[in-house]
């Protein structure tokens, strides 16, 4: 099964709060691939990229490194678009 992975960093001031988590999951669910988000740093943790609760539980603050991994036939496209969303600060101004 094709697999793709990309490292990103949370760069919006408010971190991955409920709305960004929901945006992420909404986008993730448009792909057939399984998506796992690994939080690096002091308290490493994995989340199901297609579950809002799971993503909120990551409590990813500004500066938190994340690794997005997708596995499936649209894996490349999935990680590229999801990483873009994080890098675009989920559309938040700050």
């Amino acid at each position: 099964m094709p697999k793709a992975t990309q490292d990103v960093k949370i760069c919006n001031r408010l971190g991955m709060h409920a709305r960004p988590a929901m945006q992420f999951v909404e986008l993730a669910n448009q792909f057939r691939s399984n998506i796992v988000v690994h939080k690096g740093g002091e308290e490493p943790e994995d989340a199901d990229g297609k579950s809002v609760m799971s993503m909120i539980i990551l409590a990813a603050t500004e500066g938190t490194p994340l690794t997005i991994t997708a596995e499936g036939d649209d894996a490349d496209q999935a990680v590229t678009q999801l990483a873009q969303l994080v890098n675009d600060k989920f559309g938040e101004d700050e």
Binding site: K3, M22, E42, E62, A75, D76
Partner: protein, 195 residues
């Protein structure tokens, strides 16, 4: 197998900090010296038990939010005269996207500059509330969370501990069955003790 590993340069975040540790330390120092922000929070640290509503009268989303904010006010947990502004903010947030994330639970929330410390309250609705939840199912347990405008990391920590528990089938089931304030407080204590 097609395997793609992006180079570190792909991390185009422009507001990069010097390092995760210095960030945590600087924020932690501003809150309480020596205490790490990432330390696990306990539900009882911010849930105002006197304000718990074991049986919400309201059967709609806005009514439930109002009832819970006013209950916090009555318990003395909110700054004077701030309730109406807070109610409006929570409802506004809700209209941008429901916090009813499925499985019969909702976590309406807002950040407000008048709030100096995180406060939360639980409301139960035996009959269920239409919260425009993601799974289109009624909401039976509402956890309202109010955070200060600054220190977003505290808001995320509180969300973390709330959802860590709400994601557990047993916690959700017991919360739905807990008919009195005492039963809910007991459940919170057990959750904080990791039972």
């Amino acid at each position: 197998m097609a395997f793609m590993q992006m180079a570190p340069e792909a991390m185009i975040c422009t507001t990069d900090r010097k390092g995760g540790d210095s960030f945590v330390e600087s924020v932690g120092g501003a809150l309480s010296p020596g205490k790490k922000v990432q330390a696990p929070m306990k539900l009882r640290e911010f849930i105002v038990t006197d304000a718990i509503v074991p049986s919400l009268i309201a059967s709609d989303r806005e009514g439930a939010i109002r009832e819970l904010v006013l209950s916090l006010e009555k318990a003395g947990a909110l700054p004077q005269e701030a309730s109406e502004e807070i109610i409006a903010e929570v409802i506004k947030r809700e209209q941008r996207g429901s916090t009813g994330l499925g499985k019969g639970v909702a976590v309406p929330h807002a950040k407000n500059s008048q709030i100096k410390r995180i406060v939360s309250v639980i409301g139960r609705s035996p009959g269920g509330i239409d919260f425009s939840a993601l799974d289109h199912q009624p909401v039976y347990s509402v956890v309202l969370l109010l955070s200060p405008s600054d220190h977003p990391e505290l808001h995320l920590s509180a969300m973390n501990i709330i959802f860590s528990n709400l994601q557990k089938d047993t916690f959700r089931r017991f919360l739905r069955q807990a008919a009195t304030r005492e039963a809910i407080v007991e459940l919170l204590d057990e959750a904080d003790q990791g039972k």
